[in-house]
């Protein structure tokens, strides 16, 4: 059986007792406060100005254009360029490093892998297969204000022959005056003998085209 002690005096916390806790015993709270302050400062502090990223993105493209190379690190690219450490910069050009080992590195960057985040439907509502083929031959970088900047064009491809080059911006592969093509129809696809699309180059809209039935000197990669 339990016994309860009844008292007329209410129990109140002992205020003087709380004041007697020494400062040295509050170090965990102080440490937590310091860590929280550091986290807030780290989150708010800008790591890099947005403009710097944009400047770095265009620099390697210009470098490749000066060197006459549309496809970096491919067979024939200088050893100096290929040996540049990937961590030297944080530009989108780093995405063009070879992604496979052995003989495959000689082929340069893999567009399908590098463009994996870009759905073909973003480039064409009429021709999904053609858009996928474009993504298999041209490495793109999404632009903050819409569209995709060309980073590299596979040498020998129909897109290289059309005159597409790094620095061009692609918004769509569909042309307003182009009739839709039924891609499940082999006759329709085989009847096409011209590939045409528009890009923005130096602020102007440029129409690029290539005849698919034209023989070229070297055999290309598609």
């Amino acid at each position: 059986m339990k016994h309860y002690e009844l008292s007329s005096q209410p129990r109140t916390p002992s205020v003087p007792a709380a004041r007697t806790v020494p400062w040295v015993r509050r170090w965990p709270q102080a440490a937590l406060a310091l860590v929280a302050l550091g986290a807030v400062l780290w989150a708010l502090w800008p790591a890099q100005p947005p403009a710097a990223l944009h400047t770095q993105a265009s620099a390697p493209v210009a470098q490749a254009q000066r060197a006459g190379q549309a496809w970096p690190f491919a067979a024939g690219a200088s050893e100096t360029d290929a040996a540049e450490p990937a961590a030297a910069t944080h530009s989108p050009w780093d995405r063009l490093q070879p992604v496979a080992d052995g003989d495959e590195t000689a082929q340069g960057p893999d567009p399908r892998t590098l463009n994996a985040g870009i759905a073909p439907e973003r480039l064409s509502v009429q021709r999904r297969l053609a858009a996928q083929e474009f993504l298999d031959h041209v490495v793109l970088q999404p632009e903050p204000r819409g569209g995709y900047m060309v980073q590299a064009v596979l040498p020998g491809s129909v897109y290289a022959r059309s005159g597409l080059r790094p620095g061009d911006t692609v918004y769509t592969l569909d042309l307003p005056d182009q009739p839709p093509v039924e891609e499940s129809n082999m006759v329709a696809l085989t009847s096409m003998h011209e590939l045409a699309f528009q890009v923005v180059r130096d602020g102007a809209l440029v129409r690029l085209s290539v005849r698919l039935n034209e023989e070229v000197a070297s055999d290309g990669q598609g």
Binding site: P111, E133, E183, N185, M186, V187, T190, L195
Partner: protein, 302 residues
């Protein structure tokens, strides 16, 4: 005697027969599934492309069959898989290879695609990847087959790999619509594969290579170098040559560019993409896939 006995006995017999049939089918299915193994891999030709294939499950080394699909056709289409199934059943490591086929092209363009698949000097080509498989022995021989643009790649394969022993082409010619003239690489003597190692099968209503039986024949003659005026088929003693498929020989009565298709829209070329013609797949006709694979097998070592 139980009154229901005369009634139940035939039912039981039927039920047992049905059970045996189902069990037998399941056993056959299990055995066939055990007999071969499906695989997928990739290769590089600028970009990364897919390979779908099958190989015998039994231990050993096998020759290789490579299939290339037509323009716009999925690399793992029903037609391609029918060819793969027929090849693996005859002891090949068989694979269908994806490539940049959203558009057609000139000799140089299609040659580039063929080189990417059959380049024997590259370790990243499709043929290198296939020959590196444990079950594959490319020294026993490589044979090729394909439809339309894939048939051009099939014929051009030996330009890039001397181990290619024979090539089959469906819907094959040198003139594809009025826009493309591929005579510079497809005429007999312009490709490394000799005419006596090529078998062409064209539909009489193939609009790509002409649209009439006479043109389908002349196109096959041009590629193989074998002339038989007015004939439906023409084969050398080793089985190379050509065959023109007639409307009455296919299930949908439309022997077009894609004569192996079925249930397509009448009159529309290559519209039967979802089905495979049963006479092509299971028949013993000279134009069927079984006869074609049997012919290809004569050029490889088992």
């Amino acid at each position: 005697m139980h009154p229901s006995a005369p009634h139940t006995t035939p039912r039981r017999v039927l039920w047992r027969l049905g059970s045996y049939l189902v069990a037998g089918m399941a056993l056959l299915g299990a055995l066939s599934a055990q007999a071969q193994t499906t695989f997928t891999t990739t290769y590089r030709n600028g970009s990364t492309y897919n390979i779908y294939g099958k190989e015998p499950s039994a231990a050993g080394k096998y020759p290789v069959y490579v299939h290339t699909v037509g323009t716009g056709e999925a690399y793992d289409s029903a037609w391609a898989k029918a060819a793969i199934d027929a090849a693996v059943a005859r002891g090949f490591v068989a694979a269908t290879v994806q490539y940049a086929n959203a558009s057609f092209g000139s000799c140089s363009t299609i040659s580039g695609r063929a080189k990417g698949i059959f380049n024997a000097t590259s370790t990243s080509s499709a043929i290198a990847k296939l020959c590196a498989r444990g079950k594959a022995d490319c020294s026993k021989g490589i044979v090729t087959g394909g439809l339309s643009q894939g048939s051009i790649i099939s014929v051009l394969a030996k330009n890039y790999d001397s181990r290619v022993q024979a090539s089959m082409g469906q819907g094959t010619g040198s003139t594809y619509t009025v826009a493309y003239n591929l005579e510079s690489c497809m005429a007999n003597g312009k490709h490394a594969q000799p005419g006596e190692r090529i078998r062409i099968i064209n539909g009489e209503r193939d609009m790509f290579v002409g649209g009439t039986e006479a043109i389908a024949r002349s196109q096959a003659e041009l590629v193989t170098g074998l002339k038989c005026t007015g004939r439906q088929s023409c084969f050398r003693s080793n089985g190379s040559g050509w065959y023109i498929v007639k409307d009455l020989e296919v299930a949908d009565l439309n022997a077009d560019h894609c004569f192996m298709g079925n249930l397509g829209v009448p009159g529309v070329q290559c519209s039967g993409i979802l089905g495979v013609d049963p006479y092509y797949e299971y028949g013993n006709n000279q134009w069927g896939v079984k006869a074609t694979m049997d012919w290809l097998k004569t050029f490889v070592r088992p």
